[in-house]
């Protein structure tokens, strides 16, 4: 998603996103247009068009969003119901007797096995379907942990300010300046035994600074806002100001960013597994791991690599398309 060689551009992009929070923030809250001007004696009959409502009316007609949402929805359903959908047991070497290690290690496609089998005679089609579950778990969990971490750091920096802000943001800057994959590798390599969880933690670590910086930016915009000043003028306690008045109004760009981060988390997870830093247990199929295994047969059997790669690309694209359209629809600057 990001150009890993250019951390400054990465920071710039995060800050731009944060800036939209001040003007358009507040999920579902800012009135876009009051349809009735209404005198004060009467309540405007219209309830106003909320940001969410206006965004939805645009998204509904946006083919890019619809495509992204369709892919995402299909992927999530596939992952949830994968054991029911997969035609075969993904761990059973059903075509093992067709595997000829010397002449033809990869059994080709045949009736009931549309993509053939791998070198252990396991049905590739079923493995792809079941592998979606791992991908979804890793993508969503990593994003969730990154979100929680970033929320904590960003709130700390944005709410307390002063030296806490400086320290937290310098740490975040250091993390952002390391190319994201390199950082993920480093974290994953620390673990003694690679597993699904080391992948999740490694990728979450990469996402933390992105969320932290984004949230801190929009918290700062909120800190100078009129309603926060009004709350202070009422003697509201600082903790209530942060959690009731600043945080809920700062979240919308962060939530939009989360959909985009799922895409990069899926790609990063695949990259980690591909390089052998993921879950080594191949009884739990995973797209990146399948891709890695396909490497040794890539010249004779490219299909073995193409299918998992295609799955990764399509799913990442789905999340990206959906996230980008969401961001555009919620961005007050692009609204007509």
């Amino acid at each position: 998603m990001d150009n890993p060689l250019n951390p400054n551009r990465k920071k710039q992009r995060i800050d731009d996103l944060a800036a939209t929070a001040g003007t358009g923030g507040g999920a579902g809250s800012v009135a876009v247009a009051d349809l009735t001007v209404g005198d004060a004696g009467h309540i405007a009959e219209s309830t106003g068009v909320s940001l969410i409502a206006s965004a939805w009316s645009r998204l509904r007609r946006d083919p890019v969003f619809l495509l992204g949402a369709f892919i995402t929805l299909a992927f999530v359903l596939l992952a949830i119901f994968s054991p029911l959908i997969a035609p075969h047991d993904p761990t059973a070497g059903l075509l093992l007797k067709e595997v000829r290690p010397q002449t033809n290690p990869i059994p080709g496609a045949r009736p009931g096995y549309p993509f053939g089998a791998d070198s252990s005679g396991r049905d590739i089609f079923s493995r792809l379907i079941v592998g979606s579950r791992q991908t979804l778990i890793v993508g969503v969990m990593a994003t969730l942990f990154g979100f929680i971490g970033g929320l904590t750091l960003g709130t700390l920096a944005g709410a307390i300010g002063g030296w806490v802000d400086s320290v937290v943001m310098r740490v975040v800057d250091v993390m952002l300046s390391i190319p994201s994959l390199l950082l993920a590798f480093s974290v994953a390599a620390i673990a003694a035994r690679p597993s699904q969880w080391t992948v999740i933690v490694a990728i979450a670590t990469v996402q933390v600074p992105i969320f932290a910086r984004l949230l801190r930016g929009s918290m700062l915009a909120q800190r100078g806002s009129d309603h926060v000043l009004a709350a202070r003028a009422l003697g509201v306690k600082p903790s209530a100001i942060v959690f009731r008045h600043m945080l809920p109004n700062s979240l919308s760009p962060v939530i939009v960013q989360a959909t985009l981060v799922v895409a990069s988390a899926i790609i990063d997870a695949a990259a980690l597994s591909f390089l052998g830093l993921g879950n080594p247990d191949d009884r739990q199929p995973e797209w990146g791991q399948m891709l890695g295994k396909a490497q040794q047969y890539i010249y004779d059997h490219p299909a073995l690599a193409i299918w998992p790669a295609l799955c990764i690309i399509v799913v990442a694209l789905g999340f990206t398309l959906m996230g980008e359209s969401l961001r555009e629809a919620l961005d007050p600057k692009s609204r007509r």
Binding site: S29, A31, R244
Partner: protein
């Protein structure tokens, strides 16, 4: 708006302007430090009193220090980059010396504030009801449950129809006038003794302005709340204030009882402000009489009258010596060459 008159006054009748001052501002100065530039003194020694139940106006054009004065009284200026000196006595306590915690306990309970823009002053993601009960919970120790009927009554009191439904509404679902009513309800929730209204009608259109002003007037009369009205609109002052302070360039240039000040403005600035109001009974074809120039033409007060470059009748001394604020018969004036006679 019939609902308002139904609720009885909670305070015994207070004579406006009687007794000891509730708020006494003395020589208030606010200086902003600016990076790479000379510090800027936005408020340069403002002194005025507000007595219980009294409505005091602070009038002046943009940049004259009205809003900074109010924020300084409330202790809401940013912590860094400015310096506040002088005293702000509220019932014998100097607010400027209170700790953050003590000041938080006073704000919203003893002194409340209504801001200019009613939409942006309400939290967009929290229902109106919660925003009213929040203050009640904070200062009166009520539970959310106990505070809800009180909040309902408050909304009813400020003339919001169907308050039960409105409690659950979000700010964007209310019209501008309704939002300002809700903000006034929030500000008056804990029955503060002093309300500071910083241009409360500027963001509203004219018919609603009149309604909001009538509401404010009625509420302060009913509850005996003292009101500091900050505005650039002389019409607002004329309809509401007992005493008027005219600010120019961070200093008070004229102070007087409302009728006297309007009938006989002595300072050329006040005179110019009043003369520049378009009049319906003016002869056809008569042009408006603006005050020439802008605030950026000001001279520094230290060795001149800041208004001299824009004054209609400057004399030589105006650009050499700062005029002092001189009190006479309940009026105060800072001018070397005041306007004589009736308007």
């Amino acid at each position: 708006m019939t609902s308002m008159s139904a609720s009885p006054s909670t305070h015994p009748s207070v004579h406006p302007g009687a007794g000891e001052p509730l708020l006494s501002v003395r020589d208030l100065r606010v200086t902003f430090q600016r990076q790479g530039q000379e510090p800027f003194e936005a408020v340069q020694g403002v002194s005025f009193d507000v007595r219980p139940g009294q409505t005091v106006g602070l009038v002046g054009e943009s940049g004259c220090g009205k809003s900074v004065t109010s924020l300084a009284i409330m202790g809401l200026l940013p912590k860094h980059g400015n310096h506040v000196s002088g005293t702000v006595d509220y019932e014998g306590t100097n607010l400027l010396t209170l700790s953050d915690q003590e000041m938080r306990d006073k704000r919203g309970k003893d002194i409340a504030m209504v801001f200019q823009d009613p939409l942006s002053s309400l939290n967009p993601v929290v229902p109106i009801g919660i925003q009213v009960t929040e203050v009640l919970e904070r200062h009166r120790g009520l539970s959310r449950k106990a505070a809800t009927p009180v909040a309902r009554d408050l909304l009813d009191r400020v003339g919001i129809p169907d308050p039960d439904r409105r409690l659950k509404d979000y700010p964007h679902q209310l019209s501008g006038g309704m939002r300002q009513r809700a903000l006034i309800a929030i500000a008056l929730a804990c029955k503060p003794r002093l309300l500071i209204a910083d241009e409360p009608t500027t963001a509203l259109d004219v018919t609603i302005q009149a309604q909001i002003l009538a509401l404010l007037k009625e509420l302060v009369q009913d509850t005996g709340t003292a009101l500091v009205m900050i505005t650039h609109d002389l019409g607002v002052i004329a309809g509401l204030c007992d005493e008027v302070n005219v600010l120019y360039g961070g200093r008070i240039v004229e102070r007087g009882e409302r009728h006297e000040l309007f009938a006989q403005p002595r300072h050329p600035y006040t005179h110019g402000l009043l003369a520049s109001i378009p009049r319906l009974d003016a002869p056809r074809g008569q042009r408006l009489q603006p005050i020439p120039g802008s605030v950026s033409d000001n001279l520094p007060w230290t060795h001149a009258c800041a208004f001299a470059p824009r004054c209609s009748q400057p004399i030589e001394v105006c650009t050499q010596v700062m005029p002092e604020l001189e009190e006479q018969h309940g009026r105060a004036l800072r001018c070397h060459n005041p306007v004589e006679g009736h308007r």
